[in-house]
Amino acid sequence: MLGKNRLIFPGEKVLLAWSGGPSSSSMVWQVLEGLSRDSAKRLRFVPGIIYVDEGAACGQSPENRAKTLAEVKLVLQTAGMPWHLVALEEVFSLPPSVLQHSTQEPAGTEGAYKAAVDSFLRQQHVLGVEGAENSPSSVQREEQLCRPHTRDPLDPQSLAGSPTAAQTAALARLFDSVKTLTAKEELLQTLRTHLILHVARAHGYSKVMTGDSCTRLAIKLMTNLALGRGAFLAWDTGFSDERHRDVVVVRPMRDYTLKEVAFYNRLFAVPSVFTPAIDTKAPEKASIHRLMEAFILRLQTQFPSTVSTVYRTSEKLVKAPRDGHAAGSPGPRCLLCMCTLDIDDADSATAFGAQTSSRLSQMQPPTLPAEAGTPTVPCCSPGVGRTQGCCRATCGRGDPRACIMEQLCYGCQVNLKDLRSLDSLPPYILAEAQLRRQRAWVMQEVQEYLIEDSDDEAETGQS
């Protein structure tokens, strides 16, 4: 799968997202195998493993979490790659920059890939002359092994040890305030993605591999359809996901069914750690995710091609830019899932069917040229000053919920409706929402000047 798609360049740093479950364990072990094998098909990237400890979100006791972590560490040590162990609590100390849209283009065309392979082979050749056994890269790797990055502090001064009790409590409060299991699962997924993204950026990984299997992706496809995320299916279930631009998420396991994975793990004694998830022991109809899983698997027993049919549909989806936006300038992005916003005038019939008309007016993109002269929210009128305090007052006095809601895609909006209070969200999300709002205002003002300027020029030109 990796060779066919030519996505990962030799020598590139790749982060393997490992949850302890069968698929991602199998992925890690296949990568290990690929690295050790001495053949032409050898994998030539530099892997690292990340494990996100979600115990707090699932309401596990500290003793159980410590036990799981000990097991996890043992497996990570046997894997012998550099590893990062992060707790989900660390989302509370993430910087808002995680959610910002990177301007860096994802590197990679067919030609670039060949050039990279060539230069890598030359480099390897030089190293080979110096001595195959003691090549610097292997020495370097061993050095890394000796000092595994346990729990990389995201902030140098904070979080050196285990997450603080306050953060654990805050996380538990956040998940307690979510009314439905469906929204909980989505929230957990979002936070986990942000955390992995941050670690990948902080350590210079340009690719992240996740262990989504074919079965899981088929279920995800149907679930996301039901959740109103149909516009992003190609990103959410495709082989590669470039929505973050500088960090590309790759799903190399998407050719294997869970059954194949389970048998592989059994026959090759691949170690995996079982961690109770948020929906463990939940009844079948507890969440949309659960229900869809049961639905697909039950169909699968009667029609053995169900999973592959659904999965092949996902392969055919094309990531086309929306009509309204030029290819060069992607429109506003969702605050949480970072997909191009799917709410605009063209789709209003489907997206806004359930929305009230007052919210509809707030959701107009604030930078529309036609509206530039008439600000939609009167508090922060241009000229009075767009200081932080003023804008915060707007959000505070008006509807703090709407302030965040207008920056979300339809699917994320529906999920956040199940959240009792948005205040318990990690600060980086709130801060970024604030920032975006301010930026929108600045943009609006700049736009006004631009229009005036061009008008002036036109007038002087005529006279």
Partner: protein, 101 residues
């Protein structure tokens, strides 16, 4: 009259949570009139081993979709599924591939 059988029953992938977290069970099936097959074994497991929420493990007379069954490391679909007749010292493994076990 089938003689008593000694078989090893294993649970993995989270299915063990329904069995007090114990993965390996060495069990002795009592002698009975008809021969022991997987169908009978499931009934016996439900009665004797299963600690909670039987609907998360057994549905109808078979296992819940998404739980794989391996008999002596071979897929049970190759061995006749529910109709496989157990032999002495067989190993039966149930792996849950469901999300969250």
């Amino acid at each position: 009259m089938a003689a008593p059988l000694s078989v090893e029953v294993e649970f993995g992938g989270g299915a063990e949570l329904l069995f007090d977290g114990v993965k390996k069970h060495q069990v002795t099936l009592p002698g009975q009139e008809e021969p022991w097959d997987i169908r009978n074994l499931l009934v016996w497991i439900k009665k004797n081993l299963l600690k909670e929420r039987p609907e998360l493990f057994i549905q109808g007379d078979s296992v819940r979709p998404g739980i794989l069954v391996l008999i002596n490391d071979a897929d049970w679909e190759l061995l006749g599924e529910l109709d496989y007749q157990l032999q002495d010292q067989d190993n039966v493994l149930f792996i849950s591939t469901l999300h969250g076990g």
